[in-house]
Point group: C2
Chain length 345, copies 2
C-alpha cells in the first residue's frame, strides 16, 4: 500500500507572495498595508500582488508583525466572575468597541480569587498586549502600580478605589443609588426596620453600598440594627445562609437590602421555603438587575447597573489612551444606576 502523505505545505509568507508576483517582499508589505509608501505602488504591481495573495491564500503572520511594530492589536480583559450575568454585556461591549479598532480581546476570569488576579497581571507582563481592562477585587493601587510601571501600557479598571496616574477608573455611583433607593423604601414603602446583607469590607462594593444605606437611614432618623446585618460572598447559597441567620434573630426586618441580586434571590428563596411571604413579611431589594431577577417570583426589585454602558466607558477610555499616549493623569468616568421597582418590594 502506497502511503500518500499529503504535502504538509507550510503557510505562505510574504516572501512567497513576492516571488510569485515577481516583486520584492517589502513591496508586498506596502500593497497590503496603508502606509504613505503604499500610495506610490503602481496599479499594475498592486494587481499582480493581490492576485498572488489570492492564489496562495496568504494571511499576514500576526506574530511577526507584532514583533516588528511592537503592537499586538490585542487587549486583555479580566472580569471577576464569568458566571455573573452582570459581566456579560460588559464583555460584549468591550469586544464591540475593540472590533471597531480591529483589536482582539483576551478574556479571563478571576473568580474573585486573589491569586488569579496576580496571575492575570503576570500573563500581561510576558504576553505583550496593548492595553488592559480589569475588575480588580483584591489588588491594591500599589499592586497595580507595580504592574503598570513594568508594562508601560494603559490600564483601565472598574474600581473606584484605585488611584494611580496611569490608570483610568470607571465606577458606579452605588453609594448614591443605594441612598436614593433606601430613602424610597422608607418614604414610599413605610419601612422602618431595614436589614442588610453585604459582603466583607475588603470587597470593594461592600463599604460603599453599606454607607449609602447608613446615610439614608440616618437622614430618616433611623439606624442600622446590628442584629440585621449579614455577610455573604456574592453567591446565591450565601444569600440563603444569610436569610437563615436572619430568621434565627427572633424578629424579622420589614425589608432587606441585599447588595447583589444573586444573594437577594437566595434570600427570597430561603424565606419562601421557611413559609414567609415576600414582600408580605419581608420586602427584598437587590442590586445589579441580572436576568434571573425576572425569573424569581416575586420578581426582584433591584438597583440596575448598566453593564453595557460600563463596558463602553472602559473600552472608550482605554482606546483613547492607546491613541493619545500623552495622557498622564487619572481620569474618572461614572456610570449611573437606576432603581427598578418590581414585585419584591
Amino acid at each position: 500500500m502506497v502511503n500518500i502523505t499529503p504535502v504538509k505545505r507550510k503557510r505562505p509568507t510574504m516572501y512567497d507572495v513576492a516571488r510569485l508576483a515577481g516583486v520584492s517582499q517589502p513591496t508586498v508589505s506596502r500593497v497590503l498595508n496603508h502606509t504613505e509608501a503604499s500610495a506610490l505602488i503602481s496599479d499594475e504591481t498592486r494587481q499582480r500582488v493581490l492576485a498572488a495573495v489570492e492564489e496562495l491564500g496568504y494571511r499576514p503572520n500576526t506574530v511577526a508583525r507584532s514583533l516588528r511594530t511592537q503592537r499586538t492589536q490585542t487587549i486583555a480583559m479580566l472580569i471577576a466572575d464569568i458566571s455573573n450575568g452582570f459581566y456579560h454585556p460588559m464583555a460584549r461591549a468591550v469586544q464591540d468597541v475593540a472590533r471597531q479598532y480591529d483589536y482582539e480581546v483576551l478574556l479571563s476570569n478571576s473568580d474573585h480569587v486573589y491569586e488569579n488576579e496576580h496571575h492575570f497581571c503576570e500573563i500581561v507582563l510576558s504576553r505583550p498586549v496593548d492595553g488592559v481592562i480589569m475588575v480588580p477585587i483584591h489588588l491594591t493601587t500599589e499592586d497595580l502600580g507595580r504592574y503598570v510601571e513594568q508594562t508601560h501600557i494603559p490600564f483601565v479598571v472598574l474600581a473606584e478605589q484605585i488611584d494611580h496616574p496611569n490608570i483610568d477608573v470607571v465606577y458606579v455611583d452605588d453609594e448614591k443609588a443605594t441612598y436614593d433607593a433606601i430613602r424610597w423604601l422608607i418614604t414610599e414603602g413605610g419601612h422602618q426596620k431595614i436589614g442588610y446583607v453585604g459582603v466583607p469590607d475588603f470587597y470593594p462594593p461592600g463599604p460603599r453600598r453599606r454607607q449609602g444605606l447608613e446615610r439614608a437611614l440616618k437622614d430618616s432618623g433611623l439606624s442600622l440594627d446590628p442584629r440585621f446585618m449579614f455577610e455573604g460572598d456574592f453567591t446565591l447559597e450565601s444569600g440563603k445562609r444569610a436569610a437563615h441567620a436572619m430568621m434565627q434573630v427572633g424578629e424579622l426586618p420589614t425589608a432587606v437590602y441585599v447588595i447583589n441580586d444573586l444573594m437577594a434571590i437566595g434570600v427570597i428563596l430561603a424565606l419562601q421555603e421557611a413559609g414567609y411571604s415576600v414582600p408580605g413579611d419581608v420586602a427584598v431589594l437587590g442590586f445589579d438587575d441580572i436576568p434571573e431577577a425576572t425569573i424569581v417570583r416575586p420578581t426582584l426589585s433591584t438597583i440596575a447597573q448598566d453593564p453595557r454602558d460600563i463596558g463602553l466607558k472602559l473600552a472608550t477610555a482605554l482606546f483613547e489612551r492607546l491613541e493619545n499616549p500623552e495622557i498622564k493623569e487619572r481620569r474618572v468616568f461614572q456610570s449611573s444606576c437606576r432603581l427598578i421597582v418590581r414585585e419584591s418590594t
Copy 2:
C-alpha cells in the same frame, strides 16, 4: 517649572540581561529554558544570569519567542453564547486544563451568529494559535475543513455533525437522553399528550432531540401531535412566545418537552402568567440544567448535561493532538446526560 519626565525605560531584553551578567544572549536563553544545552551551564554563570534577570526584572517576550518557535502557547475557544450558563463550566474546564499545559485561552463568543463564527476562524488564521476549540452552530464540515487545511492546527469541536479527519468531536448523547426521559414521562407520569418546543433544524441539537422524542413516543404507541410543536431560538422570550402559541391551540398537552432550560423557563412563566399551573395543568421538562433551573418555582426538571466534563474532554482531546501531531483520524468522545427530576414534572 522643570518638567521631570520619568525616563520611559524600555522593557529589558535578553541582550540587556546578558550585558549585565557579562555573558552572551544565547547563554541567557539557555539558563532560562530547559533545553539539553542548559544542563551544561556552569553554576557560577547561572547564578550571575539569574541575578541579572532579577535585577532588571526581565520577562521573556512571548511574541519573539513565538516567532522563533512557531508556537504561541495559546489556544482559541469559541462558545456559542456567553450568557448561557451552560458554557461557563465548560470554559473554566478548558482554562484549567490549558493552565496545566501552560497555555492561554483566547475566549470568544459567537452569539449563535453565522458571521461571528466565520470571523472567529479568520482571526485564527492570521493570529497564530496552536489549537482551536469551538462550538460551531452554523459552520459545516466543508467550512471547517477549509480553515483546518489552511492552518494545519488541530481543531476540536462540540458538534456531532462535523466529520473531518483532522477534527475531533465531542458530543452529548442527547438523542438517547431524550428518549429515556420521555419514556419515563410516559410510563411514570402517565403522559399521553406531549408537546415539544424546539428550534429550527439547522441548529444542531434540534433534530437529535426531536428524534429522541419521536422515537420514544413511537415506542409507546404514541406520536407527536403537530399542533403541539413549536419553534423558538433558545431565548427565554421565545419560550414565552411558544407557550402563548400553545395556549391558542384550544387544548393543552399534559407535558411539554422544551429543548433548553431557558425556553423551558419561559414556558413555565408564560403558563403561570396565564393562570395555568405547572405541573398541575402542564408538566415541563427542560434540557441543560442551568443555575436558573433551581430558581424558578416550580423548580425545573431537566436533562442535565455535564459541561465541565465536556470541557475537559474537549481540552484533553486538543492537547493530545498537540502532543501527538501524527493523529490523523477523527476521534469521537461522548459526554453523557442524566435526568434530574425536580418539581415541574
